[in-house]
Symmetry: C2
């Protein structure tokens, strides 16, 4: 099996395990200290999460933890928690007051399949549930590491991370940011969770601070590549391939680094980011092949 | 000073300290691992939180922790985190797709003062920030207690607690629940956070499990009393006293225990709940006077 096939098989395997765990956690049996789980809300949460995504963020958690010798079951749980955060952000981002999208991954969005109020509450509940998953006794890590994960996840997801990035993104529709503004927006909106994905593997593994910083930098490179590839796709792909509306940045007059510097610049920058990401993982030898392949995948993805 | 005056003074003092802490935490200086804090989002979060509430939930955290010898600074932080959760729920509850309220505590709601999208993100960010406050190093408690607090807070706020209760509450507008359904709805929508407030004081104090259960039961009594008093007020108070719309349950044909059993039943039940709550705190002697006074306040409040 060549490296690309090996990567795709591992991506699929991790995605399946993540979905199996999420499906089990999001059952109609209430946990201790819960009262009941209302069926409509649970169904909306499941609709928002169990929708066939690539599960790139859980993959990064699982594989960076594996690289550094972290516990696989714990990494899977952190990946599942992170996916709850990612999916809540999509549920809220799709709302009429936000991006107003009816379709995601070829399926009706949560507020279309259910109601707008249900989608708001489903997003809120998924966000809350992420911290439940990290803190629960079933996450068999030392308490200090679990608290590090709670804090890092909250900061990656909150006002100084993803949610703040969404705010900047909305503002960018009316007030065009300059290049520095675009970089900040993207580092927050999509970068923060991807950076957390890679850094959290090091936290799960209880790795020394140098490894944690190295994986964090790796995550930053991947995050930048992810966003550049996304901006390129918005210009070049069609809605059917993407399973969602495309050309939206252009349609809204929203500037991206690609619209500022052109597609050739974007492709050469992607190439440079992959090289830099690979160099960061050199100390880990062959064990990092799968993560370097992931960097290529992120940069070259077609949807 | 009589007991009522002493209670009101303490309530005010705790509220001031909670607001001072929240105002400091919600400054424009980003924490470590945050990128920047977008000004509009920060302003909306502050609007949603620093709005002159009674801060009953932080009061209960602080005073139950004090009763059991818990660290005061840590209790204040947990109270502030809980208030972020309570206020996020109000911000989202006021949205057009939910209760569609323009005014809260005499001020425009967040989506009126800002935009609907900003209100969604401000609520999301407040919810996320609550877990930041609990997990941050500045909360100087043993790691095991902090994790207990993260988990208990997530369960009180999530699908099996407050958010699930809001879902049931929305459903109750179209499908009238029976008495058991109303009890469950209220235990989730308002009861779960109040129960957490009281139980969390015992967690902060590192108290034995019997104390934790006792405080939890106390919180359940207070929560029931709070909701009964709220239902009574919805029938009897005017909008000016409440600082928000009243008569809404009736207007929407929504059943409450008061509409089922009448105001006399409600008043005698409130009286019984206060007695039961007081009995639970007998083992703590005079130290519990302020909490018993709080139970009276909750049951007899006029707004």
């Amino acid at each position: 099996m060549d490296r690309t096939s090996a990567f795709l098989a591992r991506l699929q395997d991790n995605a399946t395990r993540t979905e199996t765990l999420l499906s089990a956690l999001l059952s109609d049996v209430a946990f201790a200290d819960e009262i009941i789980r209302p069926g409509q809300l649970l169904a909306a949460m499941r609709h928002g999460v169990l929708n066939g995504g690539k599960r790139l963020r859980p993959f990064l958690v699982i594989e960076t933890a594996r690289l550094l010798g972290g516990d696989a079951a714990a990494a899977l749980r952190i990946g599942a928690a992170l996916e709850c955060i990612h999916c809540y952000s999509l549920v809220h981002d799709d709302l009429p007051a936000m991006d107003d999208d009816d379709v995601r991954r070829g399926q009706p969005t949560v507020h279309i399949a259910f109601t707008e109020a249900t989608a708001i509450l489903a997003g809120d509940s998924l966000l809350t549930f992420a911290f439940d998953i990290v803190a629960a006794p079933e996450t068999t890590l030392p308490d200090a590491q679990k608290l590090d994960l709670v804090l890092a996840l909250a900061r990656a997801a909150g006002i100084g991370g993803m949610a703040g990035g969404q705010m900047l993104d909305l503002a960018a529709e009316t007030t065009a940011p300059d290049e520095a503004g675009i970089v900040t927006l993207q580092a927050m909106k999509t970068g923060a969770l991807i950076r957390f994905a890679c850094e959290s593997g090091a936290i799960v593994a209880g790795a020394p601070v140098e490894d944690r910083l190295r994986l964090r930098q790796f995550g930053e490179k991947i995050g930048l590549a992810f966003q550049l590839a996304d901006d390129l796709l918005d210009l070049t792909a069609d809605a059917q391939t993407m399973g969602k509306a495309t050309g939206k940045d252009q349609g809204r007059g929203k500037q991206t680094l690609v619209s500022l510097h052109g597609q050739d610049w974007a492709r050469s920058t992607l190439s440079r980011l992959i090289d830099e990401a690979s160099v960061l993982l050199l100390p880990y030898g062959d064990g990092s092949d799968i993560l370097i392949e992931a960097a290529h995948f992120v940069a070259n993805r077609r949807n």
